[in-house]
């Protein structure tokens, strides 16, 4: 621990004692600037678009007459536009940006011909735009998580192939002799996603499989997009930033190996738990349930590794925006994954399947875990590629508190509402319309939390744009923290 930089040093990118290493890192950061910035700008734009669709769909669910006459915004389409813009727009763009930056840094590899990546980025975003306009116009495939109409998907595929290949090249030409745990996750995610996506496209759209084999392919894909694409990237970022910001090594190397391989082995079987009680072979469902239970291993292991690294350093949460967002995400990952394992139990699924509980769970995974980790990463990465600091600590604070309170209210309200809905639905004595009426208070609180989250996103977008536009300070600047740590005052 003697050689590890102090807390202050790790907050301040210019205070590292090792100047040669610093110079190399600066060069690497600079090489990633253009594509990372492009992916981040696209991500933030899609976040706002997705948030707007989210609010519209949320309002419609308790007040169906809201914008009821507009065919393009009918619930089934607005909700789908929301999902696709936050998944393929916001999350994937943010994942690309963070993955590239991490990969370049960890491989000690300058991103070559980074301008060419912009073509891939442009293809991806044009593809998503066409896809979402297509969904709003009524061309959705109605296959969950794969709604983008077939005329837009080739664009996405070409773009992805480019991005994946570029990341591998960056890794291959790296100078680092060591492969850090974040890189295992990144490499795996980059390899898994195109496999999942192409199998799903072929077996569901180009040459559809017969009958409910489609449902198996659908949930093998859709659950694995979360588990084998977004989760590894989120975990890669958490594995990098928690020790980085704290300036101490990760708790246990052995646990990170165990966590990685158990995730790889168990997660990809878990998706069929979405079909419990459905018309598919019972043995596949049982295997899916077993795999979902086994997921407790990687989750607990990764949890120990992340949270034990944090132990003793909780005071750093007072200062570092990056750490605060990422630790929120890492804790959410532990909670949501353990809930997910329980949900796969047949008796639990009998109640919560088909209810708003699942919606709460999905948002806890994609938002409280993944999106929060992405926010934290962006707060760290952007100053380093732009060589300027975040303009407003107050806006970061507003962002953090609105979205963290918002998503907590969201998840708690819809989880309770969902369990209630499931229990009532399984009691045939309660008329169906009564079950529906009883969910409305929970749907209303979801809209309230949605408004809170929207405020947070606006604060983030304002800070982000302000940062892009503000001139670079002439003299050396200090990083933007929530407050000045005591050690830092001593340094000055």
């Amino acid at each position: 621990m003697a050689t590890a930089p102090s807390l202050v040093a790790s907050f301040d990118p210019t205070s590292s004692p090792d100047l040669v290493k610093r110079a190399e890192l600066s060069e690497i950061d600079a090489s990633t600037k253009i594509p990372v910035l492009f992916f981040l700008c696209s991500a933030v734009l899609w976040l706002l678009v997705g948030t707007a669709f989210a609010l519209i769909s949320s309002f419609k669910l308790h007040t169906p007459s809201f914008l009821g006459d507009i065919e393009w915004l009918t619930f089934g389409r607005a909700r789908t536009a929301h999902l696709n813009s936050v998944i393929y727009g916001w999350s994937v763009n943010a994942a690309f940006a963070v993955a590239f930056w991490l990969m370049a840094r960890l491989s000690r590899s300058v991103l070559r011909h980074s301008g060419l990546l912009m073509i891939a980025g442009a293809f991806w975003n044009i593809g998503v735009t066409i896809g979402i306009v297509g969904i709003l116009a009524g061309d959705s495939t109605s296959i969950e998580w794969l709604e983008i109409p077939p005329y837009a998907t080739p664009l996405l595929f070409v773009a992805y192939a480019f991005v994946g290949a570029w990341a591998l090249i960056t890794f291959r030409f790296g100078k680092s002799g060591h492969i850090y745990v974040s890189q295992w996750y990144l490499l795996a995610a980059l390899f898994w996603f195109p496999w999942l996506y192409s199998v799903a496209q072929i077996m569901l759209i180009l040459e559809p499989a017969r009958g409910t084999v489609q449902a198996l392919v659908n949930w093998w894909f859709a659950h694995n997009v979360l588990g084998l694409w977004f989760t590894p990237i989120g975990l890669a970022a958490a594995y990098y930033f928690i020790p980085k910001v704290l300036g101490k090594p990760i708790h246990s190397y052995y646990l990170s190996v165990l966590g990685f391989w158990s995730l790889a082995l168990f997660y990809n079987w878990a998706g069929v738990h979405h079909l419990i009680g459905g018309p598919v072979p019972a043995w596949v469902i049982s295997a899916g349930i077993a795999a979902s239970f086994m997921m407790a291993i990687p989750v607990v292991v990764v949890g120990i590794n992340h949270h034990m690294t944090m132990v003793g350093n909780f005071s750093a949460l007072k200062y570092s925006p990056t750490l605060r967002f990422i630790v929120f995400g890492a804790v959410s990952y532990t909670i949501t994954s353990l809930i997910g394992s329980v949900m796969a139990d047949r008796q639990v699924s009998e109640v919560v399947h088909f209810t708003h509980f699942t919606v709460a769970h999905a948002h806890q995974g994609m938002y409280a875990f993944f999106t929060m980790v992405m926010f934290g990463s962006i707060y760290y990465i952007l100053p380093r590629i732009l060589l300027k600091e975040w303009p407003s600590a107050m806006l970061i604070s507003v962002h953090f508190w609105t979205v963290s309170v918002g998503i907590t209210v969201y998840v708690v309200a819809l989880s309770i509402g969902g369990i209630k809905q499931g229990l009532e639905m399984n009691n045939a004595d309660i008329p169906f319309l009564q079950v529906v009426a009883n969910t409305i208070p929970y749907l209303l609180s979801r809209s309230m939390s949605g408004i809170l989250i929207t405020i947070g996103h606006l604060a983030f977008a304002v800070n982000f744009t302000w940062m892009l536009l503000r001139p670079r300070a002439a003299q050396k600047t200090a990083p933007t923290l929530f407050r000045t740590p005591p050690e830092m005052e001593v340094v000055r």
Partner: protein, 219 residues
């Protein structure tokens, strides 16, 4: 773990494992399930959707009905699907083999629709319900679909297709509300949704024993 090829092999085989187990093995084991020909009726089941209903399925997909309505009946004793009248029997894999796109769904904000054609046979009910769900199901949170209908000026006799709206939903005097072809197709699709045929495999599925009738169920 510093050997990239080894990591890559592991990454490859883990996904290959689930791909083989979930996708490939099921495609091989029941991906070629065949319809059953009933010789007494001289028909094969499941039946193909009639043309208009097939068009209606596309409307169902384009409006995103799947996000609130499942199309799968769980077995008696697992949930209350049977008691709610959503189907007399559990859905089985064979029910779906004639469908180009299988719309099982994962959400029941609204009721299951696998047998809606058997429970709501009336065209008029479906039309009113689509025009504004509040007419038939007060308090429903389903989206209204007024854009599937057109307001026409009545010239001479009123159209036989026009829907009979109760007050206060009626159009102003001299006008009538007529379903578009998309509404007609969608209703045809909804009316076609019924899995009433009993396949050999549906006769053997688990039925929750009702006290006193246990023996009969096992026959």
């Amino acid at each position: 773990m510093n050997r990239a090829p080894l990591i890559f092999l592991g990454i490859f085989f883990t996904l290959a494992f689930s791909w083989t187990g979930i996708v490939l093995s099921n495609q091989l084991s029941y991906g070629k399930l065949q319809p059953i020909t009933d010789e007494t009726e001289n028909k094969s089941y499941p039946e193909l959707l009639p043309g208009l209903a097939a068009q209606g399925k596309l409307v169902y997909q384009d409006l995103g009905c799947i996000y609130c309505h499942s199309q799968q009946v769980r077995r008696p004793g697992f949930g209350a699907d049977d008691k709610r009248g959503w189907g007399d029997r559990q859905s089985v894999a064979r029910d779906y083999i004639r469908e180009g796109r299988v719309l099982l769904g994962t959400m029941r904000t609204g009721p299951d629709l696998r047998n809606i054609g058997a429970r709501q046979t009336s065209r008029d009910w479906h039309m009113l319900h689509l025009y504004d769900p509040q007419i038939t199901s007060k308090g429903s949170i389903m989206a209204p679909f007024p854009f599937l209908f057109e307001k026409h000026k009545i010239v001479g006799q009123s159209s036989p297709k026009a829907i009979k709206l109760p007050a206060p939903y009626t159009a102003e005097a001299g006008y009538e509300i007529v379903p578009t072809p998309r509404a007609e197709a969608l209703v045809a699709y909804l009316q076609s949704l019924k899995d009433t045929y009993a396949y050999p495999e549906t006769k053997n599925v688990f039925v929750e024993p009702i006290a006193g009738t246990k023996k009969e169920n096992q026959k």
